[in-house]
């Protein structure tokens, strides 16, 4: 196999510092090695080279432009989108291979030996088709939801439908494999059901669960790619695919753990529906206090220690630079400023770190949840910027809350809490936040960026 050439190159990372670039270079090599060195069992080179290069060029240009132009805040949906493309690619390969196999079958007579490899191939093709398709349709829905183009949507008996679809896929695949049902028609039925499952599976999932879903779909696509590796006896595809598949699965599981939800729960698409029901039942009630910007400024300026809790609202408003500015000014007047980063803050783990790093916030100021929680007791002011569910004390106190058990930032231990929010609307989990009604909590309504700019000015003028 000539792909070993590509692999050999892939395994020499000595000189370069940027592993990503190496992996990319390895990929390019693997692609070119495939194009020029691949030979089929009869020793023929690939043809249609012009078309291949044309397709490569088109894909490169579009992908490059999209990736370069996308905002840092829109990264998660971009990843989801590209993931969907990979899934679609895997599904299309399966379709072509199936047609090819049918063609071969029609023209040659079967020997027992061929029959065995045929069955193996059918199995792989089916797996690649189903996984790739679910990954594609699911990723596109996830992309649409994160872009805000598609709202939360769940129908009655959604879980039953989802489980039913999943069963339908499994049963029809088994039947198809055993040859009970056969023919192109059923093949496309399976394709269609897979698309539906992908769509319905992601549809009801709330924004808070999105990272888990994207990670899961990511590993799906990995497995689909590995199926392709089996199909072509291609080690590069197999290794890449399985690596991503297992890594993605572990990543998914650890994310689920961070949010105290079982993978099955997420898989069936349970969370969104369950929450909607719970949120209407339990409203924390009570009244909130608003604070003026100048009061907030005074409070922070004369504090000893301020902890900023950034959330998705900060990302949406592109307020990370202003946030850094506020931090700098406060530090100049002798206030200790830290950032508390919840593992699932933003839309993906590490999302907030990427954003804040972009605005030059120093890395050692970003404190992870376990390390910052004990510090809240000695904190004078906590400034919550566009975060909600990750500071909701209900996760610790209210067993009926859908987020009960999820680790949170214990901001209620601080002396004062200023919550910056656009409105009283519930967060992504769709539940009310008791924190807002506590006597030491002050609300500061408005767009995160506008408000922060005004806060900076207020602090400056003091």
């Amino acid at each position: 196999m000539t792909f070993i050439l590509g692999l050999k190159m892939l395994s020499k990372p000595d000189t370069a510092r940027n592993g990503n670039l190496i992996a990319a270079a390895g990929m390019v090599l693997a692609i070119f090695a495939t194009i020029f060195l691949y030979k089929d069992s009869e020793g023929n080179h690939l043809h249609n080279l012009i078309w291949i290069f044309l397709a490569l060029a088109i894909g490169t240009v579009i992908g490059w432009i999209m990736a370069k132009r996308v905002q840092m805040t829109a990264m998660p949906q971009m990843v989801s989108f590209f993931n969907g493309m990979g899934g679609a690619c895997a599904a299309i390969i399966s379709i072509i291979e199936y047609n090819h196999l049918n063609h071969v079958l029609a023209t040659t007579t079967m020997t027992p030996e061929m029959s065995a490899s045929y069955q193996g191939k059918i199995l792989i093709i089916l797996a690649g088709l189903i996984i790739g398709t679910v990954s594609f349709s699911g990723s596109i829905i996830a992309y649409g939801k994160l872009e805000g183009k598609i709202g939360d949507f769940s129908i009655k008996g959604q879980q039953v439908v989802n489980i039913g679809l999943l069963l339908a896929i499994l049963v029809s695949s088994v039947l198809f494999y055993l040859g009970v049902i056969n023919g192109t028609f059923w093949f496309y039925i399976i394709l269609l059901v897979s698309v539906m499952y992908g769509v319905l599976f992601v549809f009801p999932i709330g924004g808070a669960d999105m990272p888990v879903v994207i990670s899961l779909l990511n590993s799906f696509t990995g497995v689909a790619a590995a199926c392709g590796g089996f199909l072509y006896n291609n080690y590069v595809m197999l290794i890449g695919g399985i690596l991503v598949g297992s890594a993605g699965t572990i990543l998914t599981v650890s994310m689920c753990k961070a949010m105290n939800r079982s993978l099955l729960n997420v898989l069936v698409g349970n969370f969104g529906g369950g929450t909607a029901a719970a949120s209407t039942g339990s409203t924390a009630g009570g009244s909130t206090k608003e604070i003026t910007k100048s009061d907030a400024a005074i409070l922070m300026k004369y504090a000893k220690k301020v902890v900023i809790v950034p959330g998705y609202g900060l990302a949406v408003a592109q307020a990370q630079h202003t946030c850094h500015e506020l931090e700098t000014i406060l530090e100049e007047s002798g206030v200790e400023v830290k950032y508390a980063i919840h593992p699932v803050a933003g839309r993906m783990p590490g999302h907030m770190n990427v954003l804040l790093a972009e605005s030059n916030v120093s890395y050692d100021k970003l404190i992870e949840m376990e390390d910052i929680n004990p510090e809240f007791a000695t904190t004078d002011v906590v400034l919550v910027v566009g975060a909600n569910d990750v500071v909701n004390p209900a996760a610790k106190t209210d067993p009926s809350s859908p987020i009960f058990g999820m680790p949170i930032l214990e901001v209620e231990n601080a002396k004062n809490v200023i919550v910056m929010k656009r409105s009283m609307k519930a967060g992504y989990a769709g539940i009310d936040n008791a924190l807002f009604y506590q006597p030491k909590t002050y609300m500061l309504f408005g767009d995160a960026k506008d408000t922060l700019v005004k806060l900076v000015n207020e602090v400056k003028s003091l």
Partner: protein, 123 residues
């Protein structure tokens, strides 16, 4: 029967699958949660290897239907690869600007070199 024969004729690849699963698990357990987003993005780009399958399919395509489908598949696969790597690169670039960003890029570097080591082990 079919499955058993299939397994025995592909035993090498199945060993490789099992090995790679463990390599994947090893990798993730060493990564701090800070790096999950770039890592996810990087993994996303890596599974773009599916494009190789698309290229093979297209290179062997005879009918116009499979040619068109293959064409689309190659475009989509390229989107996945190029987009994935460029996005990851942009994320890393941001970490690198700062002095202490070295920590992160070093970590990510380790992830990828772990992958390479894993691949070397496989042969």
């Amino acid at each position: 029967m079919g499955i058993l024969e299939f397994i025995s004729s592909n035993i090498q690849m199945i060993y490789l699958v099992i090995l790679m699963i463990f390599v994947g698990i090893e990798l993730i357990s060493h990564v701090p949660s800070v790096l999950h987003t770039p890592l996810m993005s990087g993994a996303n780009a890596i599974h773009g290897v599916v494009i190789i399958g698309a290229i093979i399919v297209m290179g062997q395509a005879e009918g116009s239907l499979s040619l068109i489908l293959g064409f689309i598949a190659v475009i989509l696969g390229t989107l996945n690869v190029v987009g994935g790597f460029v996005v990851t690169d942009r994320m890393l670039e941001m970490f690198k600007k700062k002095n202490n960003g070295a920590y992160i890029s070093r970590n990510l570097f380790n992830i990828f070199s772990d992958i390479h080591i894993g691949i070397e082990d496989a042969f």
